[in-house]
Amino acid sequence: MNSLLASMAPLLAEAPTGPPSVTNDANWFLENAWLIPLLPALSFVLILFFGKRMPKKGAEIGIAAVGLAFVLAVITGFAWIDHRDNFEPAGTGGEEALVIGDDGLTSSDSLVLTAEDGGEGEKGGEEEGPVPVAVQSSTQWFQSGGIEFNVGILVDGLAVMMLFVVTLISLLVHVYSTDYVGGDRRYTHFFAFLSLFTASMLFFVLSDNILQMIVGWELVGVCSFVLIGHWWEEKPNSDAALKAFITNRVGDVGLIVGVITLFFAAGGGKTFDTLLINNAIVRGEVGKTALVVAAAALMAAVMSKSGQFILHTWLPDAMAGPTPVSALIHAATMVVAGIYMVARLYPVFYEGMQINGSSINLLATVGAITLVFGGLLAFVQDDIKKVLAYSTISQLGYMAMALGVGAWTAAVFHLFTHAFFKANLFLGSGSVAHSVHSFDMKKDMGGLRKFMPKTYITFIIGSLALAGVFPLAGFWSKDEILVGTGGWNFFGGTGGNGAYTFHLTMGMIGAALTAGYMTRCVYLTFHGEYRGGHAADDGAEAHHGDPHESGPRILVPLYILSGFAILAGLLNMPKGLALWPDSWEERFGHYIEPLGASYFPGISHGTPSYSLAIVSSLIAFAGAGYAFYYYFVKVDRLAKKTGVSLTGMPNGVTTTNPVARVGHKVLVEKYYLDHLYNGVIVAFTKGPLARAAYWVNQNVIDGGVDAVGRASVKSGRFVYDTIDQGVIEGVVNGSGKVSDATGEELRHLNSGKVQNYAAIMFAAAALLAGSFIILLAL
């Protein structure tokens, strides 16, 4: 993996051969990015031991560490941008650079590229320009049985992007939490685990081998467990924490099996190194069966961690945790770990799922189903955080689908934009809940725009971005995913890796659903009349008074995230549309996507088209429009007429139409999946199965042991009986009671009387002597 080898990486994406494009000699910040996870890790230890003695109870340590990590992450980001455009492998002077050019391109092109200071004026496609060269620094951790285990960091565009997202949102959440959980009984402990989570997530993102990934993966899981169960005094919270952990553990079976398969099939039983494994797959050295097994096994891990249908059920329950945790862990960072892993190990899925040239595969289909089914569930939630949770599931479905259809950059870009607007929405819902002390939209909210105008504006921005309204962030990333399906054939625009028409359709439906449920959510929360306080019910003023706007420590993070929700989309404007300068196009893709590197498959890009953007926008507007008509017009009018703040029409279609009623019921029951898991699988394992196993243990296996014991005692007693009947007076001969598993009989030999023992001894000795004589005589 030295730089010389890296320089030999071919420039054309179609047939990458040779070792991974990687170097260990780069900018100081890229080589030492391990400092970024180290800072919050130190902060965790410090808060754990000294937090309670600090003036701000440990929060300041966490904020300082994560802040510093954020600064480092930004510097690392710039270092990467510079590295991406200007990196020349050490030891290769100008002449050798020319040689590289000769490999794949005309030499003049390559000379131009190496001369240019990056970023501007690249006229060609992504095939041109310097090959992305990842930066890896690793060291041996330990070795066992001839296998070396390394620990190290791998910095490339994807990792740098994640560093930025994780540190930024973590920093904002830290600041937000000082107000939100202020005065909590376990304030210090909360910050300690926020720090630990940040450290684990960064460790996961930077890991350069798949074993290290498992470590990070599990650590974020356990932080999620602790933080969901932050208020463990109430059973529902600890139940939710347990459910999250155990569901993820189910996926981890897949992770373990997948990683082991990759280790042997692609790593040759010698290495866990991500890039070497990816490279081996890209070069086609790995058997098809192994890849299919690995991809399918890892898929289980993705489904549990990233909330894909049917293992998504833990995510809505995880909303039992404090809201900042939901924003950080269950919207922006941890839940995208699965998506990140697919992106990181993309060759496994690209080859294993046969993404290229097909029109259906497991990953894309699971994503497509998740995005529609999750979106539908969001319509029947009363809890604002659960609406957002199902929305997150749905958006994660988009990302998984994008990866499944080969739109790698679109998926990662959606991950990037989604982190901002979803964190914004979660923190906004927290701001609302902080004020009305409830998450129930129907009972305790309504009309809040009058009380909390600032939160309202940020929430609207987040919703618009989520719904994919031009020109906010969500529009660009969602459109890119739809383009990437390659299913659009009208008025230009197609390409991609296959014709995923079904997935395009699902994506369109999802867009309409997203716009619809967000409109509903905004109406129920902010419009109509305020339903909370219950002042009228008991005649007294509610003890909290009217809702009030939140303080600056809550609002400033919201403003910042809203800013990103508006602007982030501009980072990756599509190519080939003549509305903006070329130099603005696909900046994100350019720096993040490692296409051309020898550890990345040769994916192809879809062609953007106006028609698709317009149609998908229209569909989203239609969804929003219908919801708007229903809530803002029909319900609102009725509410004005009756003077009661309503949350729906009294005789809606779900109460009159039997089909709709059944559908509604299925949604409310969350497709009965929880019944299946808790009522059937868990209950069966914990109940009959465990009990049966234990019964077998006590009665068959242990019973066997006891029976042997009893039998020996019995044979002993037979000898005993023939000698002296009187001695066994009082011996219970209740051995017929077979089911008595306690081995009561073992005792009866021990009468405790020395003389009885002596009698047995003599009897036995006499018997032995007798038989000895008889045997001799024979």
Partner: protein
């Protein structure tokens, strides 16, 4: 020649001893019975020793006598302790080993 008589005597003594050990409840008597058993064995040892003209028989008998002395010492100590603790040396009452 004389052997049978010795052996018969020893067997009789042995049986008496065993009977005593098994049936008598008094601790002292049980100890005495054990001594009788040991002496029955000693008679056999000496008898066989003189029969085969081997001094080992006598040596073993002496050895047994020494060990028996030690054993009686310990046995009596046990009986004494038992008496102190329970005011009785009835072996049938001692069932602390009961499982």
């Amino acid at each position: 020649m004389f052997l049978n008589q010795f052996l018969l005597l020893a067997a009789a003594l042995f049986c008496i001893g065993v009977y005593g050990v098994l049936v008598r409840k008094n601790g002292i008597l049980v100890l005495m019975s054990i001594e009788i058993i040991l002496n029955a064995v000693n008679i056999n040892l000496v008898a066989f020793g003189s029969l085969t003209d081997d001094v080992a028989g006598e040596v073993f008998a002496l050895f047994t006598i020494a060990v028996a002395a030690a054993e009686v010492g310990i046995g009596l100590a046990i009986v004494l302790l038992m008496y102190r603790n329970r005011r009785s040396i009835d072996f049938s009452e001692a069932d602390l080993l009961k499982g």
